[in-house]
Point group: D3
Chain length 332, copies 6
């Protein structure tokens, strides 16, 4: 398969390109608006052609699929262009910056009859997949309560455009917390939200301080450092969400999903399962869980899907996801 890469920033060169190559796919072209960056990536991986615009790449190449690895605000336009050009698309997370955009992307996929995947790599961990199998087998029963936590103490990224509201659409929620939010929804089966309230704020990011993920510029920090929410679903369940780029928490950062069901409960990460059986309470932990590179699984999963009937499920989930994020941001 011929693959094109749109955007050559961090995730493209650390994950997408090398994993496509490892999976035996043919990465034939990269696109970056800043030509030198595109050329550097091409040189690093021995890719033949470099483009400065999406249009040029799509016109000149015969691509089976593309990965979109650009800032969030650019996803929608680029994804739709690639779909329209007949490509299957794997777009990095978050899908978009609003439910409206996600809906347009879904519709474009259906119109083009092409698979649309999003890069939520936490889904592809082996512990996540084990829990998913257990949930689908009914081990936890009806899931009625979820908590998604994505809390960093001093984790404002010091590189890229992560603090630029216009390019990224958001910070603690849209770019960071969205990992755990999606994961909880994915494990719950993406129930339909009926009520949402949210709390979005800037408390620490706009003043200088210790940076554990590099040094950021507080003067241009325009995204939220704090995002909290509660979501109620049509099936009676609820979800509590708490996310931060920077907050006075400790002792370690937290990336966690907790689920409570009528038959059992579970926590990620690591995976713990809590059940009642034989008149006793049990705590279960997987022993010797196989380690896999989630990005490798993600790329392989996408490549496999490209060989089958087009899949729109992730596109539909993205609409639900952004319906929630829109309401947390108060934009809908």
């Amino acid at each position: 398969m011929n693959i094109g890469i749109i955007g050559t920033g961090g995730i493209a060169t650390s994950a997408h390109i090398p994993q496509y190559i490892a999976a035996g796919a043919n990465v034939v072209a990269v696109m970056n608006r800043t030509r030198e960056r595109g050329e550097a990536a091409a040189r690093q991986f021995g890719i033949e052609r470099v483009y400065g615009t999406v249009e040029a790449m799509l016109e000149n190449e015969t691509l089976d699929a593309v990965s979109v690895c650009t800032p969030n605000a650019l996803h929608k336009e680029q994804v739709i262009a690639a779909l329209a050009a007949g490509c299957h698309v794997l777009c990095e997370k978050p899908p978009a910056i609003s439910a409206r955009e996600a809906m347009e992307m879904l519709e474009a996929a259906k119109a083009a009859n092409r698979t649309l995947h999003y890069g939520f790599h936490y889904r592809h961990r082996s512990d996540t997949q084990l829990l998913k199998r257990m949930i689908e087998a009914g081990e936890l029963g009806h899931l009625y309560a979820a908590t998604a936590l994505a809390l960093r103490r001093r984790g404002i990224p010091g590189w890229g455009v992560f603090t630029d509201k216009e390019l990224q659409g958001g910070g603690a929620l849209l770019d960071h917390g969205v990992h755990m939010l999606d994961l909880a929804l994915y494990l719950m089966g993406y129930p339909k939200p009926v009520d949402v309230i949210g709390h979005i704020g800037q408390y620490l990011g706009t003043r200088p301080g210790v940076g554990l993920m590099g040094t950021w510029d507080p003067d241009t920090f325009s995204v939220e450092d704090t995002a909290r929410a509660m979501v109620k679903f049509e099936n009676g369940a609820s979800l509590l969400f708490d996310g931060s780029f920077m907050a006075n928490v400790g002792p370690r950062d937290t990336m966690r999903v907790e689920l409570r069901g009528t038959e059992g409960g579970a926590t990620l990460f690591p995976l713990h399962v809590h059940t009642e059986a034989y008149g006793a309470l049990f705590d279960q932990t997987p022993a010797h869980l196989e380690h896999v590179d989630p990005y490798a699984v993600q790329i392989q999963t996408f490549l496999d899907a490209c060989q089958r009937e087009p899949e729109f499920e992730q596109g539909e989930q993205a609409v639900i996801l952004h319906t929630i994020t829109d309401r947390i941001y108060g934009e809908a």
Copy 2:
């Protein structure tokens, strides 16, 4: 001081009566609708007189103060009667079963010009008080995010009337979670709530199972086993709440309040404080914190207050607290 005790159930005999005696107060009468129970308590502590109604006790005794230790639905009437009889009142938690009731109790206290305290004993722990002093000294700055957790795995009380909605008004929220909800609000300075959503449910309590706090009757279980909420406040802060009488969680039950402020963050219990100073992040833990019996402090605090100008602050907080619980229950 002459003290009367209304209700002689658990908390009255394990905490109120012995602590009044230890503090040197004069417990002269107890009241219980079931006469033998009242007499048993009186015998145990050498209390002279026993009454079967509040009215009888208030008419026949000259009391300085009373403790109200009856089921929650009875608080309002009994507290108002005692205040009207000129008594200072210490009423067990929760204050009432609705904001309307709490308001009536506050107004009665003001009308009678008598102190009205509520029995939230977690406030009187030495770690809570230490954190309160630190917050008041500005160590945490503006508190903009709180989380209150009160999660039991199999903790439906197997005694008393705790599973009776009519007498108690609620379970996971009103009787159990209210401890952590009040504690978070108390430490935040009881800000004014402006938006609340809640999730109330019965998932595990209505079927048989392992009981770690005795054996309950699932057939008459009429309170919620699950309560979750998000509250937004006028000052921009928010609070996430999660409570259960019984849920598939583990490995240990959780009673916890987490606070995030602009200058520092803190977690109870135990107390950890997280700050930034000297260009570094610090985790602080109190060493050798003095152990005190929170009930002893509560009784002494009440007795001291009875000697001063009447206090209505706790009465006012109760109105805010029940405004929130009403909205979580969807009753307002």
Copy 3:
């Protein structure tokens, strides 16, 4: 029910008598060859009559059941006498000191049509019972490998007659290790042994040294301090046994049974279960397992059995058990 107690040593006064009383049974008589000891026990528990011989007690009392708590070599004769007198019998462990004796006791029970129980209290722990339920539900599949360990570092009892071969029949195996040996067999369903080899030795008990269970007399130490064996069963399974009264092991003493089955494995104590499911390996641990007094359960189980059809299962198991111990001692 009217109960008689034969022998008033340690286990009788620490467990049998108080548990009968707690269960509401009527302990009407005790027997001890040393009259003062019998009278001391009777005084301690308010028991009416004391006898110096089993015959005298059985002749003069109308007993429903008796507990036999004498040295091992006396069990057979006393149990048979009690059964012949129409009593149900609970005999302390080990059942006897040979398979031949155990067989005579079983036959006597059948002839008298009375229940015969043996006091293996480890069977009555809540973790043992939980594992038993799991095994019976098939969680472990076919059990093909067992290990029973009963290793003390310096645990020669400094009281009683535990080091007297003539009265006790043995030490590390017959009196101490027999607990874990029975437990493994009980959990395996008491399969039929077909091959046994054993190793019995005196290495440390016959010379002075540190005593962690009191001071013993090395000069009269006549039982084995070391017992090891392997047993093969008709169903293809095998059992490894290792026991000591005193050995250079550490850091802690070991009382443990390990079981390996085709579907899962388990270890006691504490209980851990190891399985494969959902393409993963799981370690399961019971959380919050209810604590029970195994002696209380044992006495209640015996009293309950006395109300039903006579039970000979434990009598039959005792024959198998002593068939094994005989062969380890090389006596059969």
Copy 4:
């Protein structure tokens, strides 16, 4: 010294060849029936000549010593051929697949007057050697009880011919457990066995499941996955053995030897020593034990021995070892 290598599989290229080179020996030729494999190994290490048969190598080369690294069933013939050609021989473990073979190899060594070593690398660990020195100094006294454990949870090798009964002679016992069995015997001074019973079985290896050491083929799995035994020795001591390729055990795999002596006891790995002295019990642990590569020591030990009088001790031990394994397999 000129060295020839027979067999170029795993242990030859990961240990023997590089360690010979590191020790300054001259590896001049390798032999592999599959020519390309031999050539690959030669290329990797810059070895000059490659042969397809043992005979060709021995005829054409003037070798001082050879290492035999082929499947177990081939050891006997190849070792004898090399000895007959005047070479000292280091043969990988297990020595052979029966006592008869081991005896023939020993006799060949004596006839050729050449040193015969076997590759039990656990003997060469620094903790093993430390314990050996302590035992020889009498620290543990007479060793009367040993336990050898080699338990893997899901450790059927997914490579090589380890599951092929014909080529390997066995699995859990002969190829894996033999490490701990030899180690226990080595530390005990290789006492003479007088009685053995064993349990050999296939329970989990013949059906699919999780593989922690690669993926094996359950359909062609022809060795035992379970091996257990008890051995009694002429000097009164006994040994319990438990081994598995795959079993429902946990939480970690176990490679352990436990020894109990009249003056002290010890456990490997890691090394703990338990003694009584000064009227107290002591637990001793070596601190900062030097880490050595056991294979480096093994090769150096062999090279050193080649400079001295021929050594037959390991050849004699191999006969004892296989006398035991024969009886466990029931072949003798």
Copy 5:
């Protein structure tokens, strides 16, 4: 034996009197300048006679031995009076408040030919005695370096006269640190000091603060809260000492002696021994060390000594000990 008790404060009633009684000695009289205190102690233990002065007690009683449990500054006079009256004497620690006093006490003991013991109860712990036996057997070789630490974070006693320089002679050194100083010297064999420098200071005790051993009065705090020293001995060894009543240290208080010898090193408490043997380094810890009450051993040791030839060794050690403390205080 007839025993008299001089002083009835803490240590007399918690340790000396009950241990004499437990050992079967006959406590016939107590003395306390405050008559009610003497009578209270007598009543508590059923002692027949109470005196208000030492002189009165010694005149009216025929005593075999006395315990002196008064403030340190009174020891000398009372001990000498008791010796002169023909009593063996057990005097609480510290022996005295100067070397001159200790010398007078020793001379009085010799003149009276009576045993003089001092109450350093740390010497009588079972771990201390085990180490003493090991040192005497040569396990540690020549002891050339010692460290004695007695550090409390907030441990100024809130009772008694411990902060009164005149009555006690000192605080962090003379009353508290002297325990570890004596212990180190005792284990080293009380070598002769040849050079001492010390640091005595008041830093925290004279101002208010948290008190973990009760509330003290900073205004009358007249002893040192800090004492540090280095001592060099005639045999080439040295000792570092560090003691505090109150200091900003953590996380736990420290009572420790460390010894370094040419053959081994040791630390108390708990006991760890570090040696080199068999070409390896070993860490040894006693397992299952018998727990004894050091006071019980101390009293029994004293009573035993009273039956033998008089012992002056402890009296001589006291002179050395106070030679050191004098020089640390700068008084000699």
Copy 6:
């Protein structure tokens, strides 16, 4: 800047040269009396010129700064020569081997008006610098007690000239312990010493034994393996020092500085701070402290200083430091 390197042993090639290069400085020449060693270093780092004497290097090069990385006894002469040639100098620790030498070096720096730094890299750790900032802000108040520990169990270096008294001037104190001694003094603000006693000895280094830092020659071991001291300062504070190259201590080696002040106390390494505040005791630990390479900071600090007014503070501290070491060695 042009840099010359005097001495190309361990610290020069592992730290100084690569850090100068990383910082962008121009290392133009190296000097080593053994020409091949100098050339090897030059080759490794691509340095142009190699000299066999300091004089030759200084004459032929135009250097801005030099690093002196030779044995301690050579420091004085080489540093003074370099200063005289107009170079700024960074000299490895210890500064010299006597206070007299340190004074001459300081005077030479002042005469040449060039910066003189010493390579105490522990000062440049991020935890040390954090504590330094806290001390300067008054968090610990007046520091009145310090302890410096540098204890190795078997840490005599097996390479270089570390055991040669003539070249190094000392061992446990001058070469190893001096790190912690300097660190304590640096944090205390280098107070003026007024009284010192020391203990210098050879106990284990002169006989063979286990070596954890390589194999040394006990026959030529001429430095002390043990150094202990107490220092009293003009400001009333004191310092206890304990150092060893080899001693029977455990379980781990110790590099530690403890400080006690009137407002707080601290321990390095790792950093713990102990304070009293809000009526409670606090233990503070930095979380997520940035890891820096102390050598990188040291070189950068030196390069920065070369751009400013010459600094003599470290030269002055060196005089104080060696005044103390001289007195411990008894040489002054």
